[in-house]
Symmetry: C2
Subunit: 483 residues, 2 copies
């Protein structure tokens, strides 16, 4: 896989990540001049949809492009319940910044399609019919192109197709942009991709879009690599694995170790989403190990070793399902069932009830970093890192999808709002993934990881060293420094 | 779906199942004369493979066809470790009843392809090259044709393609045939199908094969319907659901109800595979309800009602995955991973260890029929019945795949050998299915079924009546009487 691109207007910078180099783009405010060049010929950007990404992106783009002559217009279904919400944020029919979805698509020179994956699949024919020849289609996710690849559908070749994928949730894309007005970088890092370049402008349009969103750093990728790592990631360490780890470990602590339920919740869910994530975010992965006492280090490595190999096999299964197209078809089938058969509950078991009840009297500084929990979580995370590297993903993508998005975005959000809030409010694609793969991680824990952890064999001596000396720590350090 | 066929030689009988009629064929010994006619032109039947189905079928066919002039020859890979096992059962090179697989295929007029699903998919090109024009390919499972349908592969049209699918495990196909030598029917019922009839003989060849296996009754189906209900069934009530029910209910009984582990195993796994299955097999489904005390009836219906709707939704997901081809692709992907990453353990959790330890001092007559366990199992079974009927499967197929195969074949086998033995020794396709869907049933129990069961709302008054008066009981009674 080649990780290089050519921009006519934006200055690129080269970073060294382990044994590779990658080009990146630095963002920041006051880039109106560059954005004008990147968006030359673009009078109107249509932002289609009003999910949290669409809301955030529409506002950031409007703010960033206010001096460039580019209008940002939100396009929604005629009867969309979101129309009033858009009006409340000053996207209005009167100012021609709010309109019907297909009309908006027809008028716009660049269309950012931010409706749900399932809706993109369902409506792609009309949408492609509405797109102007010579216009640019922007995606924040490669799902639709994965669907096209699986079904031998070719999009029209008279448009550009680009992707900009913020590495965090929509809320954060907006909040950090607002908070960061006076810093150099002002929001969330992205990866950008050029899928189809019909007029030679696609790369600069993609970078322009990313910079206008406020990305401090934009990494280069392909939409194929992106959707694989993205859909895979949310089924794995970002959501599915956390779900399964917490279910299984809570049950283990309460039944095998007779721990009170509140304590067990603190030492599992709260420990991961709180102190463990903060420590990794601030100081990287080896810092977790270094922060432990000698006894705790032993526990950490024992669980890490018990988890790594079985987790790798399950992660490989997930990756196979995603890259074969099975997972996309599953999501589409689930979306067809959704009206009559909504996704099953993910918050009915004891652990999440305890979490809801006890979150309110939690004292954040007093949540301990539990070495078994940490060993398990980091073991699965490292298995994911190794798998994505083996599959040829770039270091920046591996660091972002396996570590940074977890510890900077998803986990803090779960810590603040409760994990069950996340499992019920993330995208439909992710919700379906949690329900499908979360129980598999839970099962793996009970049948393979915990029995190994509990038996009396010691992990191999080199286990700690191979973790501490892993090739990912340098690239992760670089990527963490780029926020 | 049309459920009728035309046989030139065998006498058909019509049975009434609810609002439909189906034609069936009665089997029995001493049908040499009919078999000679059905197999006219067939000098040699090649049985390819040495799994439990292949062993059983090769022996039954040899015995049934001994006066017809048809040779039954086993075909195996040159270096197959099964060669000696076949020789030990008197399939030998000297008598020209044992040979290399492709050579055997080339020589045979009828080839029964009984190697694993994954091996069929892997080797189908060479196999189809080896088949003689005008010969007949027999399958005991529709997996390969499902794979063909998904990949737009057309088998050559100068052969017959037929299916005969015994409704029980290979061991039973042979054992019952031997035991039943002097009864009318002598073995396990089958369904048969004609997928491609190039010379007008396919239907009688299929029936002949089924009769020669010793099927007391042969039901008609299509290979498409068969593989869907079969692959679906083993992921659902036959294996996956039992696995999930036992995991979840054992955990519930031991933690929520503080039951001793041994008691919990008796009241879950043992109760299902022992008394519950025997009662259904002997007396049908309503007998389960009727056998309970008034209080137990209430518990049964409460759990039945809590389980039915969520189980229906999960079963529909499984059905969608199977009929979209996703599940077949998953199995094939798993078979590719198998060498480096074997399927994960399914017997590592507490419940199966307890089962292994306590099975030996179990007193069979003293295993109680627990009303919550029964309500759960029967609730999921009835959801499966309703789903398969809604998807257009014939009553005989629904009764067989949802009830009879469970209570007559799979459950008694698990009762005798231990459930974990089954989960580790069934076909690779089934093993992969248990590991994929078992945890989903477990999860559904904890998040949806048990919380509903434990809350204080009463099930609707008509719940018991709608179960007792369900349309399946008459067809099930007929099918049970046909064993």
């Amino acid at each position: 896989m080649a990780f290089s691109f050519h921009s006519r207007f934006f200055k690129t910078e080269t970073i060294t990540l382990a044994d590779t180099t990658e080009q990146i783009i630095r963002g920041g405010r006051d880039q109106s001049c560059l954005l004008k060049k990147a968006f030359a010929g673009i009078k109107q950007i249509g932002v289609i949809g009003w999910g949290s990404q669409a809301q955030a992106q529409a506002q950031n783009l409007r703010d960033s492009l206010k001096d460039t002559g580019v209008t940002v217009k939100v396009g929604l279904r005629k009867d969309s319940p979101s129309l009033n919400k858009a009006r409340a944020l000053n996207f209005t029919e009167e100012t021609n910044t709010l309109g019907e979805m297909h009309k908006t698509i027809k008028e716009s020179d660049m269309v950012l399609l931010l409706i749900s994956d399932a809706a993109q699949v369902k409506h792609h024919e009309e949408i492609f019919c509405s797109l102007k020849p010579g216009s640019t289609l922007g995606l924040s996710h490669g799902f639709l192109l994965g669907y096209f690849a699986n079904n031998n559908i070719k999009p029209p070749d008279n448009i550009n197709i680009i992707g900009v994928c913020p590495k965090g949730m929509g809320d954060a894309v907006r909040t950090l942009y607002v908070q960061g007005q006076h810093t150099c970088g002002v929001g969330i890092n992205t990866s950008f991709a050029v899928h189809q370049d019909s007029d030679g402008r696609a790369t600069d349009q993609a970078i322009g879009w990313s910079v206008a969103l406020g990305a401090p750093v934009s990494f280069f990728t392909t939409l194929t690599a992106e959707y694989k790592s993205d859909i895979f990631g949310e089924r794995a360490i970002l959501l599915g694995a956390v779900y399964g780890i917490v279910e299984a470990l809570f049950r283990h602590f309460t039944t095998h170790d007779n721990m009170p339920e509140e304590t067990a919740f603190r030492l599992t869910a709260d420990s991961i989403t709180g102190p463990l994530s903060r420590l990794i975010s601030r100081s990287g992965l080896p810092a977790v190990y270094e922060s432990l006492t000698p006894n705790e280090k032993e526990t950490f490595i024992k669980m890490y070793t018990a988890a790594y190999a079985p987790a790798y096999a399950l992660l490989l299964e997930i990756y196979d399902e995603v890259s074969s197209g099975n997972e996309l078809r599953s999501v589409i089938l689930a979306s067809h069932r959704q009206k009559d058969f909504p996704l099953c509950r993910a918050d009915g078991s004891r652990v999440w009830q305890v979490g809801q009840q006890t979150r309110h009297w939690r004292v954040d500084d007093k949540i301990p970093l539990h070495p078994a929990t940490a060993g398990l979580y980091v073991g699965i995370m490292m298995a994911q890192v190794d798998l994505l590297l083996a599959k040829g993903h770039s270091y920046s993508e591996v660091c972002t999808e396996s570590v940074i998005e977890a510890v900077d975005s998803i986990n803090p959000h779960m810590h603040a709002m409760g994990a069950t809030h996340m499992f019920n409010h993330c995208s439909f694609t992710a919700q379906a993934g949690v329900r499908k793969w979360g129980p598999r991680f839970d099962h793996l824990m009970h049948h393979q990881i915990l029995p190994t952890f509990l038996d009396h064999t010691r992990p191999p001596k080199e286990a700690a060293a191979s973790f501490i000396n892993h090739q990912i720590h340098q690239p992760l350090g670089v990527c963490l420094s780029l926020r």
